[in-house]
């Protein structure tokens, strides 16, 4: 039927205009980057990036490298899951790195052992109160509560005072870092219980990251919450007129982001067996970068958790690749900056093409 294949007004519908999903482009970019490192490795240092070249280990792929690639981005990846939702709904969260710091300090002080080598814990925060050797649920709940409070405040500021999310979360970024330093007067907090240390042991960060990513992938794609994230980020006024409680939704989104930052803090401090006030510095920017590289638009309305996971992988591959090629860490930072800007430029360009065509 010729009639159904046409739009009204005589405008033919062009199926090719329905652009392929941006995640596919990110996946292609990821493969291209891996291929580039593979090629450069073979040419420059005569080694393979991806494949196993040692005789004393089994397997086709370089298992160890693959593990490191994903392990080193898992913790920031957990933050990026939350940040992606914030950005899709038209906001931004600059506070996650500092929330990681504050949460790590506070939760770790509830996770300490009483005795270290038979002596009282030298770093013990609540030794006098006797709050040591607590079950692991205590520091976990305390940590999640810290993240929730930070997220609630962020969300309430953005929703009700109408100040730009950039400013609201910048305030939280500075404040939470202050809390992290004030908590133990700058002293690191160490010696957690065995059960707390298990949270971030081995490949646990990867397991937690992937589990949370799948969970929120489903939530964003199939639930009302997800639909509202895209609707608000796409056209806040339309969402409001359509009956969505935009304020409540924003508070929920920032709260989820705060809790996810707290999860990252728990995993990180458990993995490192210590908490320091400077933990998580710049994590917020890495998380935003992962989302943006993964195709999430800073102007809201577009993006996905799949994209962010791919963005995180690109991040991990680049860091690993540079180390593999024995390129100085300083250059890594510079290149990272270039990649972030390039991803945003690409997004702006994509939008221009769309609005024109």
């Amino acid at each position: 039927m010729a009639e159904t294949s046409r739009g009204i007004g005589g405008l033919a519908f062009d199926a090719s205009k329905r652009a392929r999903p941006p995640e596919l482009n990110v996946l292609i970019a990821l493969i291209a980057i891996v291929a580039a490192f593979e090629l450069l490795g073979r040419l420059l240092i005569g080694d393979s990036f991806l494949f196993n070249t040692r005789d004393n280990v089994d397997g086709i792929f370089n298992q160890q490298r693959l593990e490191i690639i994903i392990l080193q981005v898992s913790i920031v990846g957990i933050i990026a899951i939350g940040v992606t939702q914030v950005i899709i709904s038209g906001g931004i969260d600059l506070s996650s790195g500092s929330v990681v710091g504050a949460t790590a300090m506070i939760s770790m002080s509830f996770a300490q052992v009483a005795l270290v080598n038979g002596q009282p814990n030298p770093k013990g925060v609540f030794l006098e109160q006797g709050w040591v050797d607590l079950p692991v649920i205590v520091p976990v709940l305390v940590g999640l509560a810290c993240g929730l409070v930070a997220g609630l405040i962020n969300g309430a500021l953005v929703a009700y005072t109408k100040i730009p999310p950039f400013i609201a979360t910048l305030g939280m970024m500075v404040t939470a870092r202050g809390v992290a330093r004030w908590w133990s007067k700058g002293q690191p907090i160490s010696f957690p219980t065995e059960s707390f240390a298990a949270i971030g042991k081995g490949l646990m960060p990867v397991v937690i990251f992937v589990t949370l990513a799948v969970l929120f992938m489903v939530i964003l794609r199939y639930t009302r919450y997800g639909k509202y994230c895209y609707a608000i980020g796409s056209n806040e006024q339309a969402a409001r007129i359509s009956g969505i409680n935009v304020e409540h939704h924003k508070i929920l989104v920032y709260s989820i982001a705060g809790v996810l930052a707290a999860v990252a803090a728990l995993v990180l401090s458990s993995k490192n067996l210590t908490a320091q006030a400077g933990m998580g510095v710049m994590y917020e920017l890495d998380a935003i970068a992962m989302a943006v590289i993964g195709g999430t638009s800073l102007s809201g309305g577009r993006g996905s958790i799949v994209g962010t996971m791919l963005g995180a992988l690109i991040f991990g591959v680049i860091i690993s690749g540079f180390t593999f090629l024995r390129i100085d860490a300083y250059y890594q930072e510079m290149i990272k900056g270039v990649i972030i800007v390039a991803a945003v430029v690409l997004d702006v360009y994509r939008q221009r093409v769309r609005s024109r065509g």
């Binding site: 739009g7 009204i8 199939y222 609707a231 056209n235 339309a238 969402a239 309305g301």
Partner: protein
């Protein structure tokens, strides 16, 4: 035609600071009736619509809807009593597909888990197809984002949404202002089907040909006031233009620049 009055305003007034955008508007709409609001730019048409849809709160005056006095605090309140509005800026979410836009804020769900309720996308898709069918709108691919659609298709989606949810009244603010000839015809057809279904309509339009084609009565606004209401059959285009510009109301001097 039934003589039941569905919407009536008494002395509806809106001041923005010192600007008297709407003065003492007494308006009424009968059940099943289609009326047009015409007037020059700044005559108070859109201001009037913003008061009766709850986008803004009037400075003074009363609104009676469906037999009782109402006070709309937000567009939601007006929607809850059965008024649907097609705004000039359409109020669509560009990054969502057609069913999502049609059901925005009224999603069909499987069972209630609060914000985490799973959406019944299949049902919404089917209902969207039905809604578009009753309005005669053809959209080739419902799964396509609104962003990729033409102005006419977007407008039709917005109107279909209003038409499929409106139970008591539908208001359209310049629905064809940005459309081409064919698309305008399409929108006018939708309006005619609304007439057949007996849903009252307030149409704001600059297009007098369209107004004469579609509505029963014409309300003329000028400088924030209602200067007249006439039956379509008992007037002419020239008379309406005279009222819009103020020649008829005896203040012709003011209208010389119009």
């Amino acid at each position: 035609m039934t003589e039941k009055i569905i919407l009536r305003t008494e002395g509806l007034t809106k001041h923005y600071g010192g600007v008297k955008a709407l003065e003492d508007a007494d308006f009424e709409l009968r059940d099943g009736e289609h009326v047009a609001i015409v007037g020059d730019n700044g005559a108070g048409k859109s201001t009037f619509v913003r008061q009766i849809t709850g986008v803004e709160s009037p400075t003074s005056g009363k609104i009676h809807f469906d037999g009782r006095e109402v006070e709309f605090k937000s567009p939601l309140d007006s929607r809850d009593v059965g008024i649907e509005t097609v705004f000039q800026n359409l109020a669509l979410a560009d990054d969502l597909d057609v069913p999502s836009n049609l059901f925005l804020g009224r999603e069909k769900i499987y069972f209630n888990l609060g914000p985490f309720s799973f959406l019944n996308e299949r049902l919404m898709h089917t209902r969207a197809l039905e809604a578009l069918k009753t309005t005669g709108v053809k959209i080739p691919d419902l799964k396509s984002k609104i962003r990729y659609m033409s102005g006419g298709q977007r407008q039709c989606v917005a109107i279909s949404r209003a038409a499929s949810f409106a139970s008591k009244l539908i208001i359209m603010d310049e629905p064809t202002a940005a459309l081409g000839v064919q698309e305008t015809a399409q929108v006018e057809n939708i309006i005619r089907t609304l007439k057949q279904r007996g849903i009252p309509l307030i149409l704001i339009s600059h297009n007098l040909r369209q107004v004469f084609d579609l509505v029963d009565r014409i309300w003329v606004f000028r400088r924030g006031r209602i200067v007249g209401v006439v039956d379509k059959d008992k007037t002419t285009g020239n008379e309406i233009v005279a009222m819009i510009t103020g020649v008829k109301s005896g203040v012709g001097d003011e209208a010389t620049f119009a």
